[in-house]
Symmetry: C2
Subunit: 336 residues, 2 copies
DNA sequence: CTGAAAGCGCTAACAA
DNA sequence: TTGTTAGCGCTTTCAG
């Protein structure tokens, strides 16, 4: 009644079935060419003994585990969650498992985890990696990153997204337009933040709109960062009529602050985000935002890994994804 | 300049350092009693060769990987994300890595993944497991579940939470109170949903409040489920003045529907959620909700696993966590 | 303090 | 169609 207390090995099963270990192995691996009778007998012995393969032993012979390894900074960031979902779906569709690890501050853990994936995984996806973190996998297992780091990557077209944002606000008639900039820390993927800003300002400048420095506060990419930046903007002598936040989370903070100050969005203030994470559809008013196809990006990353794993070279090493404007309820023509 | 193309083994390092394999192994495992000189020499050889342990070989000797394995249904559910965050923090604090797998529909993948964790992990956390999914780990590696399944678990006190919900709405003066029930599918942890409902109705009945069947629509626990249930409720001849949703996601849907119908929350309608996921603080108005300490629950689960792993028996096999009322802006006394 | 031998459980390669 | 022989890379004895 109780499960076997001691590990059952392949040899045990072989003995039980009265065959050799190899025969059992062949059954386990569904190899062809074997009498149906033997197969049945072995299968019965497996059931009866409650045998489960020892993954370590199997790995030792060089096999990989049908596994995509993912290393991400933390789970709390919606951006990360969406990417992972897309990757997960693609892995599953390809018949592979996916294991997600979060970056730890502990160097020993980092190495252990890396050593594990190095031998275990068929491919490793690095989400928002810090420089050099893919090193230990090189030449051992394929690696794809998000953002600009590394030999193979998937990324959103941030500059184009910034342009879209500016165009949308301009077309609504806004002229006093502010931008809450993303944080400068590399861990907050500063490069992508700068690209968004670049595209945004480029279009505004081309339209002859001047953006004073006071209209470009920074945020730590957290909700409270967005709140504080919004507070600063909205207490200016001449506050903006529209705010483009560098990401949705900062936009959430902006919505909160606007409400706290008694401003009605979008009537008194337009708010525009970036990313289109799931929560963006939940806010009231629902957030107008520049969508990065995060799920598709995660899926594409996995597909690149599979390609690399099968020995072929992906057509493009860096896949850039177009962004699109998602109009919801947080933007409107200026009322004043 | 390029990393070693072929796997460097312990033997290679030993040769390079002019010592035996065992000596290298001792250095790697930081075992005491060894001349500092030898240690240094070995360490240099490790660096130089770019050696990384082969995890498979190490595992084969029976060692575990300082790893907590987590199996969860999908990443999209905020409830899951929060639990994972708490678990992750606790694992990290204990010097362990954490790997998260999502449940797949594919039986082969399931087994492979289970086989992996069986030999790899020092403990396995099952989030919202389906019956029997912990079976293959039994007697091999400790298992803790969320919800009622299994020998060891962490869970929120759902019934008490339901009572809190009722008490809050009653104390505000509501009498026409509806409840959007959680789905009946086991995968939606129906048991916990029923407990919430039970506690809720118990208090209302004790207060002499009758809840007509029309005030108890079901929802599929997704946002649109919440929307539809709310629409039904709000188009009743005598609509409720307050709605208690079985979880925050359904409450989000309710907020959306209320806005769509031109109702102002909380002035025209009070909305109360359950869980207190991160997004609940983001909605406008911010959601009043019954908080389950999901992060603490995740952390506690990991601590139980570590205890079980160290051979001791946890004082309580099933840890129940109190819920608390978090008052934000979506509830107020009825206006009519 | 360091080394040599044996074996963990499995599979690849070859025999029978 | 099935069995035999090696050996994957590491660690655990036990000697030196």
């Amino acid at each position: 009644m109780t499960p076997p207390p001691l590990p059952v090995t392949l040899a045990d099963v072989a003995r039980l079935a009265g065959v050799s270990k190899m025969t059992v192995s062949n059954v386990l691996n569904e190899r062809p060419g074997m009498s149906p009778d033997t197969r049945r007998r072995v299968q019965a012995a497996i059931e009866e003994s409650g045998y489960v393969v020892n993954t370590a032993a199997r790995m030792l012979t060089g096999r990989r585990m049908n596994l995509i390894g993912v290393i991400a900074p933390r789970y709390s960031v919606p951006y990360v969650t969406e990417l992972i979902q897309g990757a997960s779906a693609a892995a599953e569709a390809a018949g592979m498992s996916m294991a997600v690890f979060t970056t730890s501050q502990n160097a020993v853990l980092e190495r252990e985890r890396g050593a594990l994936l190095r031998t275990l995984a068929d491919g490793v996806l690095l989400i928002m990696p810090t420089a050099g973190s893919g090193q230990m996998f090189e030449n051992v297992v394929p690696v794809v990153t998000t953002g600009a780091e590394g030999a193979y990557s998937v990324q959103g077209d941030n500059e184009q997204g910034g342009r879209l944002a500016a165009q949308h606000l301009l077309s609504l008639g806004h002229r006093r337009i502010a931008h809450i900039r993303g944080a400068d820390a590399p861990a907050d993927h500063a490069g992508e933040m700068r690209a968004r800003e670049r595209g945004f300002l480029e279009v505004l400048h081309a339209a002859g709109i001047d953006v004073p420095a006071a209209y470009l506060p920074g945020s730590n990419s957290q909700e409270d960062g967005g709140e504080q930046a919004a507070r600063a903007l909205l207490s200016l002598p001449e506050p903006p009529s529209a705010i483009f936040a560098a990401n949705d989370v900062a936009a959430f903070g902006t919505l909160r602050m606007a409400a706290a100050l008694g401003l009605r969005v979008p009537h008194d203030l337009s708010v525009l985000g970036f990313d289109d994470v799931t929560a963006s559809a939940l806010t009231t008013p629902a957030l107008t935002t520049i969508r990065q196809p995060l799920q598709s990006m995660g899926a594409a990353a996995v597909q690149m890994l599979l390609e690399l794993g099968s020995g072929s070279v992906p057509a493009v090493a860096h896949r850039i994804f177009e962004t699109t404007l998602i109009v919801r309820q947080s933007t409107a023509p200026p009322s004043s």
